[in-house]
């Protein structure tokens, strides 16, 4: 395929197919990777589930994650509601607990639905913050690295700061800050984001340093384009590939970090449900009600695995060395 397009350019025939764009090429390589493709499928389902969860548990309440039904404690999955004890308003859809109930008789399915949105948004927002900081600092350091601020250059300043951040034991730092601040879901997102931008900054800096010398950037400068346009239209799109990969894997990491924080008791606080705190809560009932432990555990595992596999697929697809094979 790729060889065909090359000959097309050389023989200058007009009716041959257009050369594919880099995006199409990446997608073609990505498709070949079965694992990554199935990961993408899982993620698509997850996003749909998360949106449905937000809609169905908060706006049009069909599954109510907060209803407490003490007569129906610890029911295994697929068990019916005790219709004579629970008022009909509090009964789950079709009178069946799809994934069982927990120690307060709350519907685990409803809680997982609600949690899918919260867990996913923690991952996405935390990574959004870290990628933004990483691109800005890495870009500044790569593009304006030689500018002097007094006795120190911008590059030295930013990279020393990155080194400093790398010296902190990350999880311990997150734990310290989250524990000292008042418990809030936004604090968790922000803190995870603020402590994980270092790798992105380093990637972007390295890419920018390499790109700055390339002909198309020099040409853009010679044309007198404004610097902002050179940076955002010409350089950032070319530097984005490794960032995208590390962002995908970063979402997986953020979901795991949240579950770790939940385990230590500093995660998202009730009544908000996340997969992490359902799992952390379920560990007390591993013998009596194993579904409370296994359902969120397996769910986290599958989703994090999907993110990691998609990230790996992206890495392969965007690696220029593997192109045209």
């Amino acid at each position: 395929m790729a060889e065909l397009t090359h000959t097309a350019i050389f023989t200058a025939e007009t009716d041959l197919p257009k050369p594919e764009t880099p995006l199409q090429e990446a997608w073609r390589i990505f498709q070949k990777d079965r694992l990554a493709l199935s990961g993408l499928l899982v993620l698509g389902l997850l996003v749909a589930l998360a949106v449905a969860g937000k809609v169905l548990t908060e706006w049009i309440i069909i599954f109510d994650p907060a209803t407490v039904r003490l007569p129906d404690k610890f029911l295994p999955p697929f068990s019916g509601v005790s219709a004579n004890l629970i008022p009909s308003l509090d009964q789950p859809l079709f009178g069946i607990y799809l994934l069982g109930t927990d120690e307060l008789g709350r519907d685990v399915f409803a809680r997982m639905l609600q949690g899918s949105f919260v867990s996913l948004s923690i991952g996405f927002i935390a990574v959004g913050i870290s990628v933004t900081i990483g691109i800005i600092l890495g870009g500044l350091s790569g593009f304006y690295g030689n500018v002097k601020l007094g006795f120190i250059s911008v590059d030295t300043l930013i990279m020393r700061f990155t080194d400093i951040m790398l010296c902190f034991p990350t999880f311990f730092l997150i734990l310290t800050v989250v524990a000292l601040l008042p418990p809030s879901i936004y604090n968790i997102m922000i803190v995870i984001g603020l402590t994980s931008w270092m790798a992105t900054a380093r990637f972007v800096r390295a890419e920018f340093l390499a790109l700055r010398e390339q002909d198309f950037v020099v040409a853009a400068q010679a044309l007198g384009l404004p610097e902002s346009r050179i940076i955002f239209r010409h350089m950032v799109p070319n530097a984005i590939a490794p960032v995208l990969v590390s962002a995908t894997i970063g979402v997986a990491g953020a979901i795991l970090t949240e579950s770790g924080l939940s385990f230590l008791g500093f995660g998202v606080q009730p009544p908000d449900a996340t997969w992490g705190n359902i799992l952390a809560n379920g560990r007390g009932f591993i013998f009596d009600a194993p579904w409370l432990f296994f359902i969120p555990g397996v769910a986290i595992f599958v989703v994090v695995l999907a993110f990691n596999l998609v990230g790996e697929g992206l890495r392969e697809a965007m690696n220029p060395r593997l192109r045209s094979r």
């Binding site: 902190f168 034991p169 999880f171 311990f172 730092l173 310290t176 800050v177 799992l279 595992f301 990691n308």
Partner: protein, 320 residues
């Protein structure tokens, strides 16, 4: 060489000061003070709180508190807020507890991930490569404590040995052989659990590094002159692929504290991570700060050592 060392050490000292200032400001600027740990206690009168704050210097400006902390740390008189025990011996003792766990986990990580990574790279695209890739991703995707709980349950069910804590209670007077076996059982499960993420990550890294090297011209040359495949892989390729792992040495050490919080908590291991967790719960600022400081020092020492080692193993690099 000596000027390099001197300059590197000076640079790192400056970094260390900046790090300690940042850590100090994070801990002190966050809302909540040790004197507020129990605000609902009716016996806590405002004057009591004022007395506690004065005793801990919490009523003084931040820069003074920082200098007090630095002075006490340097003279070794730093006391914990919680129990007035000196901080440094406390941390040292917990560090000694964490050390076997850390060493054991590191040994497991390195001895498992190198063979798998190399093998996967040599047989790229084979069933072995694809299986290990998938297993590696599966292993980093499981929440650590989820897997640990399953492992504890399994070990206790199948082998009938207790694995929580550092040793079984009441074994102090047993025969030394039994005591050591007991210690070993208690050590193996937590170190395996904390090694799992490391195995997955490092084996992937070894694989990609190896793939990178195998593509080089000197490997093609070695093949072209008819060397046996084993000599090509292990003498020519592997030795070059190993170089970057020397630099990883520096980033191993902070894992000693950060990564261990969860696992020490699960296995009730009285180590450094758990001390940090307890200190956070009690708003024990001196202990939190000192642990952070120790971690940063270890990292900086680690990076220095790896810089020097890199120059030793790679003759192309000269320290100036």
């Amino acid at each position: 060489m000596w000027t390099f060392l001197l300059r590197a050490i000076l640079q790192r000292l400056v970094l260390l000061v900046v790090i300690s200032i940042i850590a100090f400001s994070i801990v002190h600027l966050a809302p909540g003070e040790p004197s507020e740990v129990d605000p609902n206690n009716p016996r806590m009168k405002p004057e009591d709180i004022a007395r506690i704050r004065a005793a801990f210097h919490l009523d003084e400006p931040l820069y003074l508190q920082y200098t007090y902390w630095l002075r006490d740390l340097a003279t070794g008189e730093l006391k914990s807020f919680k129990d007035s025990q000196p901080v440094l011996p406390k941390i040292w003792q917990r560090f000694l507890n964490s050390l076997p766990l850390f060493i054991c986990a590191t040994l497991i990580v390195w001895s498992l991930s190198f063979p798998t990574g190399i093998q996967a790279a040599i047989q790229r695209g084979s069933p072995f490569d694809r299986t290990t890739t998938f297993v590696a991703y599966a292993l980093i995707s499981i929440p650590g404590f989820f897997l640990s709980y399953l492992a504890i349950q399994w070990v206790v069910d199948v082998f009938n040995v207790p694995v929580i804590g550092m040793r079984t209670f009441g074994m102090e007077n047993a025969q030394p052989v039994f005591r050591w076996m007991d210690r070993l059982w208690h050590l193996v499960v937590p170190s395996l659990m904390s090694a799992i993420a490391g195995i997955a990550i490092l084996s992937r890294y070894v694989r990609s590094q190896m793939l990178e090297v195998v593509r080089q011209d000197y490997v093609r040359t070695a093949r072209a002159k008819g060397l046996p495949e084993d000599a090509v892989i292990y003498r020519h390729a592997l030795r070059n692929a190993l170089l970057p792992f020397v630099t990883m040495f520096g980033f191993l050490l902070p894992g000693l504290i950060g990564g261990s919080v969860i696992f020490e908590q699960i296995f009730a291991w009285p180590g450094l991570g758990r001390l940090g967790y307890e200190a956070i719960l009690a708003r024990d600022f001196p202990v939190i700060l000192t642990i952070n400081f120790v971690a940063a020092t270890l990292t900086l020492v680690g990076t220095l050592v790896s810089d020097v080692l890199y120059a030793v193993v790679d003759p192309r690099i000269r320290l100036q």
